[in-house]
């Protein structure tokens, strides 16, 4: 495999989550985190999963990643059942999860080194390309602890992109960043998504963030974790988180979310 071949866009992947159920048992109680959830994500689609904490959205993401197994149901990636993590589906976590014993370059190379068919020189070129893409071309040999929160997430993004996955799974990746850094990253992630055409499933509890990034916003409720509503966001890219049109969408989604939460409260009081 040549370098040019490595860097061309892979075709994005279709993800089908079919009738997924998952329960968690703690000492006190059993929680139905996901109750027969169905989710279809088209090739190259940017889907945001939104809901209150404990609604199972992160669990669904982990199941799609292959990091957790559902109690019943299955995930299909381009029709193939998913049972374990795969290089076609890379994950970005809320915590950057960068390896402190490696420098920035070493972190981006970690996944690439596990990818067969490339020469070391080519791997390095690929890593440089993605570090450039996330705007960190000057920090190849910086140590993780020297980077700001936003930079760390950029490295994590480059690390996830480097093996050229077909799907990017993002679990509240910007939740621990300050507002200004987050705004920059909204722009970056949209730009990169346009450039690399990947399927992205993005978990967040921030409705405005979801409306800004997603082609589609999927709303979850908890106890049990179910999909309650979907919203298509028909706004041109690149979207600005502060735009008025966006506010229109996020207000609508927020109202729906509040409706479910109120309903849930009623169920509890009954």
């Amino acid at each position: 495999m040549s370098l040019a071949h490595e860097l061309i866009n892979t075709t994005a992947e279709r993800i089908d989550a079919v009738e997924i159920s998952k329960t968690f048992t703690t000492k006190r109680r059993t929680v139905l985190a996901l109750d027969r959830v169905n989710l279809k994500v088209a090739e190259g689609e940017f889907v945001c999963l939104v809901g209150p904490s404990g609604c199972g959205k992160s669990t669904l993401l982990n199941i799609i990643a292959g990091l957790e197994q559902p109690d019943s149901g299955q995930v299909l990636a381009n029709g193939e059942p998913v049972s374990e993590p795969g290089r076609d589906r890379m994950v970005m976590f809320q915590e950057h999860a960068l390896f402190p014993w490696l420098d920035v370059m070493g972190n981006v190379l970690f996944g690439l080194n596990l990818k067969p068919g490339l020469k070391d020189k080519e791997r390095e070129e690929v890593a440089k390309y993605y570090l450039h893409l996330v705007g960190l071309e000057k920090l190849h040999h910086a140590n993780v602890h020297e980077l700001s929160g936003g930079m760390k997430q950029r490295v994590a993004l480059a690390r996830a992109l480097a093996p050229n996955p077909r799907v990017l799974l993002m679990d509240e990746p910007f939740a621990s960043l300050d507002a200004l850094t987050r705004e920059q990253l909204y722009g970056d992630i949209q730009r990169i998504w346009e450039a690399r055409r990947k399927t992205i499933i993005f978990v967040t509890h921030n409705v405005r963030e979801a409306a800004c990034l997603g082609d589609r916003v999927v709303l979850f409720s908890r106890n049990p974790g179910r999909i309650r509503a979907e919203f298509a966001v028909n706004l041109p890219r690149a979207r600005d988180i502060n735009s008025v049109q966006l506010a229109h969408y996020s207000t609508e989604i927020m109202a729906a979310l509040k409706g479910f939460t109120a309903e849930e409260g009623k169920e509890v009081s009954e």
């Binding site: 990643a65 292959g66 990091l67 993590p85 795969g86 290089r87 589906r89 890379m90 994950v91 976590f93 915590e95 999860a97 390896f99 402190p100 014993w101 490696l102 420098d103 970690f110 996944g111 596990l114 990818k115 140590n143 993780v144 602890h145 020297e146 690390r159 093996p163």
Partner: protein, 256 residues
């Protein structure tokens, strides 16, 4: 530079007061040898080869014993962290054995191995092994599990995860444990060498012991200084590079 001057002045003052104390005539020269007599002993024993031979014998015992301790300690520590069964057996044993100063092994060791190198090695291994097991296992168990999850998504599994993720992630603990293991080994070897005569080699501890027998306190003090010097050198050569690496990468020091 300023700190260098401070240290130099401090140690020169220390030497000067030592010299003045021995010059004052208040103390018997056997009780308090002068720095010059100590220096004379070091020079003479270096010239006739006694000191080099003793150092060589001691270092050989220490390094071989320490290496055995690491070779067994690190894998056992990994197993202890990974499997409940090992934790409840080897882990518990290590916890208990670590509290036992390894010089306590000398009587049994002599009985089992006789007055041989093996007896000395055994004592050194007992000093190293347990703290390395405990440090390795602590390091692995305190590692954030997200590292393994992240590595799995990138295609790492099995042995690759152990070598490329779990082991380096535990490095801050591991280096701390190796350092402690080294200190224990060094102390117990000196105690063992002073305690018993080993027919196969005449180490620094034995040199110190015979200095005492001959009332040659200049010899005793000289050997003490050599022991300190070797300890410092080992720290600089073996551990400082690791500590600098940890400092640079993690931004913190060694965890203990």
């Amino acid at each position: 530079m300023k700190r260098g001057i401070a240290s130099t002045v401090f140690f020169l003052l220390l030497l000067a007061s030592w010299e003045m104390a021995s010059q004052s005539g208040l103390y018997n020269p056997v009780m308090l040898p002068s720095p010059f007599s100590v220096w004379r002993y070091i020079r003479e024993s270096l010239c006739d080869g006694t000191l080099e031979m003793a150092t060589l014998v001691t270092m050989k015992r220490l390094l071989i014993g320490y290496a055995i301790g690491l070779v067994f300690g690190i894998p056992l520590g990994l197993l202890t962290a990974r499997f409940k069964m090992f934790q409840d057996t080897v882990g518990l044993l290590a916890l208990g054995m670590q509290t036992l100063p390894s010089v306590c092994w000398v009587p049994l060791s002599l009985l089992w191995f006789g007055q041989t190198e093996a007896a000395m090695l055994f004592v050194v291994v007992m000093g190293t092994l347990w703290s390395v097991i405990i440090a390795t296992s602590d390091g692995v168990r305190t590692m954030p599990p997200i590292y393994i999850r992240a590595a799995r998504t990138m295609g790492s599994e099995g042995l690759h995860t152990w070598i490329k993720v779990i082991l380096p992630a535990s490095l801050p603990y591991l280096v701390g444990g190796m350092k402690q293991g080294w200190a224990f080994a060094w102390r117990s070897l000196m105690a063992a060498e002073i305690f018993v005569t080993i027919l196969t080699g005449f180490g620094l501890g034995q040199l110190l012991h015979y200095g005492r027998e001959l009332h040659a306190m200049d010899q005793v003090v000289a050997v003490m200084i050599v022991i300190i010097f070797i300890g410092l050198l080992a720290d600089r050569l073996f551990f400082s590079p690791w500590e600098r690496f940890l400092q640079r990468r993690w931004g913190t020091g060694v965890l203990k």
